[in-house]
């Protein structure tokens, strides 16, 4: 008998709905199986909880301030309801109106999607993380405010819901407890998409109420549109940084590596997630080496936004998404490039590759780095020595590249060739599990959100990684490489490895695909991947 019953209507009640208890989480394999030996879960100070959001679970991703007065509360409620109504208008939301209405009106409440959600599962079936919990709240709001009927009939058909500050603040937080991985949508017999519902919820908060995590908005899309990159790098800084990377890499590999800038008519406009340049400089360097070796004319753009493929608008705000995508398109047109290649970044690939497709009108073709790398490895005459990658390798599938784009095999064909000890995770491909950093989480660590994404949203991936290497010596004596061809996933996996001390305990390392490819190049005499330096 369950004792922790949380009802849909509890969302409108004051106070926390649930508490994270590490003992209730699904256990990890040794040596991470004793929760007492793992980092704890930071409890927020009472003052923080009193001043900020009415958190559903004692976690804060956003930190929304409590309204100072009754009038302020009323204003927020009215804004929320007006946003809710606008979400169902074609003028404001033609972008997702049809799938949203379908997902609102046809859920049979069969809970078939539940077991597909790694967050719900790993949390020990915590009710507030159930994929249908926040979806059902929006559904009830939809039938109350957007498609109103007789109140009695509504209660009979859908059940009731009360909108107040408690609901708004908890729902805002809950819209950031789902990574939008859409595994739940894969399993739904009817095709209801709880990931989409969460995405749309975020839009009410951002587009109408101006509420979004600062990492995604102020430091994300706003900074990118103003300064040029969500990393804060302006065009001069990014060129300086790349110059430094070029010099460093040239010294390491023994030949000149040079990033090309603003080359008109190039075959490829390469747009990296600019985070690579700061956090993983070997990645853009490896691209430069590989593209030059393949004899491809390529360029990066030094124009504002053009050197950063990040588009966090994808996660929370269609207008911000469109603004950044339009800038990318404009720059590619101006440079008259033959195609845009999205660097190793899942959400960039999805945003530019498929989501923005409908506003690009085929003006500039785009493809993922996976296909280009495959083409270079197999068709451009470069010599490889796979034995240089003589360490165990597994592949993390970014949801945005696999489930959202159907790009599954190119990266595998490359790995099977250049990494003799490659092994799959279970499950993989379209059935993969999210790294736990999806939908912007990888860059969100405020308050105690880092603890949440390490203990809960990233737990399934961490377990999968450990299991992929279970036939190897468990300790650090054998370095094990997690290939994650996505910047955000890499950020999350980096954090997981650090948080659990997995480099020391299990010999886990991580990196991209292109680094492995360059490491296997015969022309690269020294190690390109050096575990001692990682």
């Amino acid at each position: 008998m369950r004792t922790n019953i949380i009802k849909i209507t509890d969302i409108s009640k004051p106070g926390q709905l649930t508490e994270i208890d590490l003992q209730e989480l699904a256990p990890l394999p040794p040596p991470y199986d004793d929760y007492r030996n793992l980092p704890g879960f930071k409890k927020l100070p009472k003052a923080t909880m009193e001043n900020l959001s009415d958190s559903p679970d004692g976690v804060l991703a956003t930190g929304l301030s409590r309204p100072a007065s009754k009038e302020e509360e009323e204003r927020l409620i009215n804004l929320f309801i007006s946003g809710l109504k606008k979400l169902f208008t074609k003028e404001n939301n033609w972008t997702f109106l049809q799938p949203l209405i379908l997902s609102m009106e046809h859920c049979a409440k069969c809970q078939t999607c539940n077991e597909e959600c790694p967050i719900y599962e790993e949390s020990g079936h915590n009710e507030v993380y159930r994929p249908t919990y926040r979806a059902e709240i929006l559904r009830r709001l939809y039938f109350k405010y957007v498609k109103p009927t007789n109140p009695l009939m509504r209660k009979f058909m859908q059940g009731d819901i009360e909108v107040n500050w408690e609901l708004i603040s908890k729902l805002f937080e809950l819209s950031y407890r789902c990574t939008l991985c859409r595994r739940c949508a894969m399993s739904c017999p009817i095709g209801v998409d709880n990931g989409l519902i969460t995405h749309e919820l975020r839009k009410i908060f951002s587009s109408e109420m101006g509420l979004a995590p600062k990492e995604l908005h102020e430091k994300g899309t706003v900074q990118q549109l103003i300064v040029g990159s969500s990393t804060g790098m302006n065009p001069e800084v990014v060129k300086d940084n790349m110059e430094f990377i070029d010099e460093d890499i040239s010294e390491r590999v023994g030949f000149k590596v040079e990033t090309k800038w603003d080359v008109e008519g190039a075959e490829v406009l390469l747009i990296h997630n600019a985070g690579e340049i700061l956090a993983w400089p070997d990645n853009p360097a490896a691209f430069a080496i590989l593209l030059d070796a393949a004899g491809i004319t390529w360029t990066m753009s030094s124009e504002l936004v053009g050197y950063d493929g990040v588009n966090y608008g994808l996660f929370y705000d269609d207008v911000q998404l469109a603004r950044i995508a339009m800038k990318h398109l404009e720059i590619a047109k101006k440079l008259k490039v033959k195609k845009i290649v999205m660097g190793e970044c899942g959400h960039e690939s999805k945003a530019l590759g498929v989501i923005a497709d409908r506003i690009f009108e085929g003006a500039v073709p785009r493809e993922t780095a996976m296909t280009l790398i495959e083409d270079i490895v197999f068709n451009r005459g470069i010599k490889f020595d796979p034995s240089k990658n003589d360490f165990p390798v597994t592949l993390h599938d970014p949801c945005n590249i696999t489930r959202a784009m159907g790009v599954i095999e190119p990266q595998r064909r490359v790995l099977r060739y250049i990494a003799p000890k490659f092994r799959e995770m279970t499950p993989h491909g379209v059935n993969n599990y999210c790294c736990g950093g999806g939908s912007g989480f990888a860059i969100m660590s405020g308050h105690n959100f880092l603890d949440w994404r390490m203990h809960i949203s990233g737990r399934r991936k961490f377990r999968q990684i450990l299991e992929a290497f279970k036939d190897e010596p468990p300790g650090k004596e054998v370095p094990k490489y997690v290939c994650a061809p996505c910047s955000n996933c890499k950020g999350q996996i980096r954090d997981l490895i650090d948080f659990y001390g997995a480099k020391e305990k299990s010999g886990l390392y991580y990196g991209g695909l292109v680094e492995l490819v360059v490491n296997a190049m015969v022309d690269i005499k020294d190690k390109f991947i050096d575990f001692d330096m990682m």
Binding site: I6, K109, M157, G191, L225, I226, R358, G362, G406
Partner: protein, 312 residues
């Protein structure tokens, strides 16, 4: 006469509201791409979830769509509720039986319509009228019994699961229980009518015949009236419930999950999207920069934060 009129009303309401809803969904704006792989029509790749985007310079390659492959996914889903089998096994038996009860009764309805039409051409359906007539006769006699028994089993199981299983109970509104009871009542009355009425087949056909000819309905047993009235109520009620998934599933699969049509210059999609980009944006957050009149193009081409910064 009242029964006939009510039947016509029920059919009209059923068709009108379902078609209206279907039209509303079908005519909704083309949305941004939101496909979810595996997409079964991706020829040669669907098995592992791949797409044409796996090809270098994919836009220069021919797109091969395998529509038969879509049917290979849809048919097991519709007939055997494959997704529930794979992802929610405890719910499958009840759901399968509950749906199959309906499939069989609907199948029987078409047999009754066929029999009625054949009757107009002098081909009467009875056990002694030759092989085909007797096959149809016995099908009409036994299908409601078989379908109803299966449906009742499914109904009871689903009802009990909704009560006993906390996960289901917490998310069930009163209508969920009511829907199960209502449909199970249709099964129970169909079963009772079929087993207690010696003239079940003839009475059923004569009811349909009266519907077609606006003629008199022969006297029916009480349970038959209960069955018909319950069914008519269900037909009027259904378009206002989530149960319209019986056709909206087409849209969730074909127009969302599997909708991967690229937007090419001068395509129909491009024309539609250019129309949508002229829609006024009224989102109220300051960063949107809406004045209630600016359209998507104007909004997406500027950024208020940037203007402010430049001014500063």
């Amino acid at each position: 006469m009242i029964l006939l009129i009510l039947t016509y009303i029920a059919v009209i309401v059923f068709l009108y509201f379902n078609i209206r809803y279907g039209y509303k969904i079908a005519s909704a704006p083309v949305h941004l791409r939101w496909e979810l792989y595996p997409v079964p029509h991706e020829k040669g790749r669907a098995q592992y979830g791949g797409s044409i985007l796996e090809e270098v310079d994919w836009w220069t390659k021919p797109r091969e769509k395998d529509k038969i492959a879509e049917l290979k996914v849809m048919i097991p889903e519709i007939l055997f509720l494959k997704a529930i089998w794979e992802h929610n096994r405890p719910l499958w038996l009840g759901s399968f039986a509950f749906h199959w009860g309906l499939y069989i009764l609907i199948g029987n309805m078409f047999l009754l319509i066929l029999s009625t039409i054949l009757g107009f051409f002098g081909f009467s359906i009875n056990a002694e009228q030759g092989l085909i007539a007797s096959i149809i006769f016995y099908l009409i006699k036994w299908l409601p019994i078989i379908g109803s028994v299966i449906g009742i089993i499914g109904g009871i199981r689903l009802f009990m699961q909704r009560i006993v299983d906390t996960d289901l109970r917490l998310y069930s509104s009163a209508s969920h229980y009511f829907n199960i009871i209502l449909i199970t009542l249709i099964y129970i009355t169909a079963l009772l009518w079929a087993v207690t009425d010696k003239n079940f087949v003839n009475n059923s056909i004569s009811f349909y015949s009266a519907l077609f000819t606006f003629g008199n309905i022969s006297s029916l047993p009480l349970v038959a009236y209960i069955h018909i009235y319950t069914t008519l109520f269900f037909m009027i009620y259904l378009p206002f419930t989530h149960m319209t998934h019986f056709f909206s599933k087409y849209f969730t699969y074909h127009k969302v999950k599997w909708e991967d049509e690229p937007n090419l210059p001068k395509s129909k999609i491009a024309q539609k999207v250019s129309e949508y980009l002229n829609y006024p944006v009224t989102w109220a957050a300051p960063h949107i920069g809406s004045d209630g009149r600016k359209n998507w193009i104007a909004i997406a081409s500027t950024f208020p934060g940037k203007e402010n910064q430049n001014e500063n």
